[in-house]
């Protein structure tokens, strides 16, 4: 089979591609050193611990600073006072018994199916 123009070009180009493969542009030692330095700094950054913060500054920032912290403390104290200062029994035990006693008859009638 006769060689076409494209075949001829391909063969001619192969010589050039081969030449390019044989003379790859090698990295300089300086470039390799820079790449290694970047790698070392990235590893060092990944290993260094994050700066530690105690719980109080984080809570203060979370609620919105000192004014919000003062409001939060006031609300907490008010809640404590209400919880401990009010009378122990708002409703008496007798009232509670009355409320319980008033319904059993009706419940019995319904259960028995009587008028």
């Amino acid at each position: 089979m006769p060689m076409t123009g494209d075949d001829h070009d391909d063969r001619a180009l192969d010589v050039f591609f081969e030449a390019a493969r044989h003379s790859p542009p090698a990295p300089t030692d300086a470039l390799l050193a820079r790449v290694m330095a970047d790698a070392a700094s990235m590893q060092a950054a990944a290993e260094s611990p994050m700066p530690r913060r105690t719980a109080m500054p984080r809570l203060r920032d979370l609620v919105g600073g000192w004014p919000a912290m003062a409001g939060l403390a006031t609300a907490a104290l008010a809640g404590l006072w209400i919880g401990t200062g009010l009378p122990a029994r708002v409703t008496g035990v007798d009232d509670a018994s009355y409320l319980v006693d008033i319904t059993p008859e009706m419940a019995f009638d319904l259960a028995a199916g009587e008028d």
């Binding site: 030449a19 790449v35 290694m36 970047d38 590893q43 290993e47």
Partner: protein, 195 residues
């Protein structure tokens, strides 16, 4: 692990070890990947200084990506070829055109060939690089990956995120343009025998 043993590990495993802080993994990856990254950047840009900057930037991005890298998702080299191509395109957009001057021609990595043979090869490689520089970016990338890096069309399609048919079209058009450009210079550059 001894240095010889770690050198046999695939890129992805080495990157995981790098993320765990293993310095030997960084050393092996640097010496394995930087030459490939550098060579690819130089062939896409035609300028050594710029190619070195791109190579360093691409490797830095790899280091940054190491902790988020998930094995099995992509090959490190595929990812690097994409990063290099994108960095080169960004640079070419900022400064149109790359020219090959004497100080941008890379030193050959292999010193075993004879002086005359080396000169012939250098002349051909330089002429090819000058012709490559004149190609549209995507054609140049496809031709370099296929005919100099020696990758398969399927792999190139994955790197360039296009179909295999599109890769074949790009390389075919690129080669025709290269043949035309090199044929015009065959007398001037003294490689008339090649055509």
């Amino acid at each position: 692990m001894p240095f010889d043993a770690i050198e046999d590990l695939p890129d992805e495993a080495l990157l995981a070890r790098f993320a765990d802080g293993e310095q030997a993994a960084a050393r092996v990856l640097t010496h394995r990947l930087t030459p490939r990254v550098m060579a690819h950047a130089w062939r896409l840009l035609g300028n050594r200084a710029e190619a070195e900057d791109v190579a360093q930037e691409a490797m830095l991005r790899l280091w940054k990506q190491a902790h988020a890298w998930r094995e099995g998702e992509a090959k490190v080299t595929t990812w690097l070829y994409r990063v290099v191509a994108n960095l080169c395109i960004d640079r070419q957009r900022r400064a149109r055109g790359g020219t090959v001057t004497l100080d941008t021609i890379p030193e050959p990595a292999d010193g075993r060939a004879s002086v005359v043979q080396t000169m012939h090869e250098r002349a051909r490689a330089d002429a090819l690089q000058a012709a490559l520089n004149a190609l549209p970016a995507r054609q140049r990338e496809a031709v370099v990956l296929r005919h100099i890096e020696g990758l398969s069309n399927i792999y190139i399609a994955e790197i360039m995120d296009i179909s295999v048919e599109a890769v074949e079209s790009l390389t075919s058009r690129g080669k025709r343009a290269l043949a035309t450009a090199l044929r015009q210079r065959k007398e001037e550059l003294g490689y008339a025998d090649d055509w």
